[in-house]
Symmetry: C2
Subunit: 218 residues, 2 copies
DNA sequence: ATGTGGATATATGTATGCCTGTATACTCCG
DNA sequence: CGGAGTATACAGGCATACATATATCCACAT
């Protein structure tokens, strides 16, 4: 696999990860000069990277106000999860009949990795990998792209859920139930579990955001 | 309403319209220098505009190979229409119970405009306006954004359908059936009509692309 | 004659500098 | 003392200039 060939892509990847991991908090202003100096490049690649992240919905660029990490309130999270439910259930429904058993084994290995992983920073990527493995055979590249985009957009908020260890174990239980249903090719059952899984995540997350006051008005 | 405040946005709008209208054909290389000279600006705003259009899926940028108008084959069109079906049916389902009667009147006026419009170039925008009016009250801004993005991505191909006047009149009939179902708040009926409408569009379009040889291999 | 290798040209990526617009703070006037 | 207007500073958009990678073409060798 060829790594990012352009500086802008590297910067975008680093920023995306930094934002997802919470190193850069929501609402932080991202000044081009500052980032350029930190990365050791000029402002141009940083500009491109910020544009890219804006297109992904991770940062918002106000003219003359610069870029800042997109701050999401409960409503925004609710919208994203509603879309994830719609998109991922459809992807699963399409994928399941054509999904190779090897992919299911791959997904199970990811679940084991999640259980073994102590660094919460990696959990988001593993969670995404598990879900995408199940949708792999859906046959619609754009659909997969949209799903991945929404994972990225919500990644840093998903980590809030992990502070609740109870939720994490419940999530893993649901993941394994989902995988079992997939193995038996029970499409309706699997879709139902996935929908429930996402709704629990949404409710837990919205509740956590509301009470933690993570959504201050701009 | 405030027009585009930055040159890059203006360029993006012009290019988007030129591509949608077929003035710039699929597969055309978009060289930054060339566009810069044509528009009378430097390459920087053009770069930003191309990045924007890439995010919208209208052009594809290969590093060092430049940007070229995204060429879509039948499979790609099929994916887009499958997504439109998923997204728009959901949006309609969510919107319909909360949709103001005034919006329905607005939608009907758009249909009248479509019948009266002789310039096929404007038909795409009117078609989009009609559909979006129906989804207006869905309560999910991101969902609306995705729908609009997919309209934009497929706009120039949708115009192929218009060369078939038979399809156009059939489309308008379906539009009015859909509107009637919406007025009576028949959610299931409306969704069903919309789904059928999109599937006919997809099939007609994919067939037209296949036979017209519009999808040459790169 | 054909294939391979190198050189050149072209277009994109990147760097630096300037200009413009906006936000903020200070001053002056009511 | 408060509000409004102006000036200044700061950040981003745009332009110009330079570097780099790739594709193509030509030449030479097999």
């Amino acid at each position: 696999m060829q790594g990012p060939r352009t500086v802008a892509e590297q910067v975008a990847n680093v920023l995306r990860e930094a934002i997802a991991s919470g190193t850069i908090k929501a609402g932080t202003s991202l000044r081009q000069d500052e980032l350029a100096e930190q990365f050791g490049f000029s402002r141009m690649p940083i500009r491109d990277a910020l544009r890219q992240l804006e297109a992904e919905g991770i940062v918002s660029i106000h003219p003359t106000k610069g870029a800042q990490v997109a701050r999401m309130d409960g409503a925004e999270i609710g919208e994203i999860y509603a879309l994830r439910e719609l998109l991922e259930c459809e992807a699963l429904r399409l994928s399941l009949p054509n999904l190779a058993a090897a992919k299911l084994d791959e997904a199970e290995q990811v679940l084991d990795q999640i259980d073994a992983e102590r660094n919460v920073g990696r959990w988001g990527a593993l969670n995404r990998a598990f879900h995408l493995a199940l949708y792999d055979a859906c046959g619609n590249h754009r659909l997969l792209g949209l799903i991945e985009a929404h994972h990225n957009a919500a990644d840093r908020y998903v980590r809030i859920l992990l502070s609740n260890l109870d939720y994490r174990s419940r999530s893993q239980t649901e993941h394994r139930d989902l995988l079992a249903a997939c193995r038996e090719r029970e499409g309706d059952e699997a879709t139902s579990i996935l929908r429930q899984h996402l709704r629990e995540g949404s409710e837990t997350l919205v509740g956590a955001i509301r009470e933690d006051g993570l959504s201050r008005k701009s």
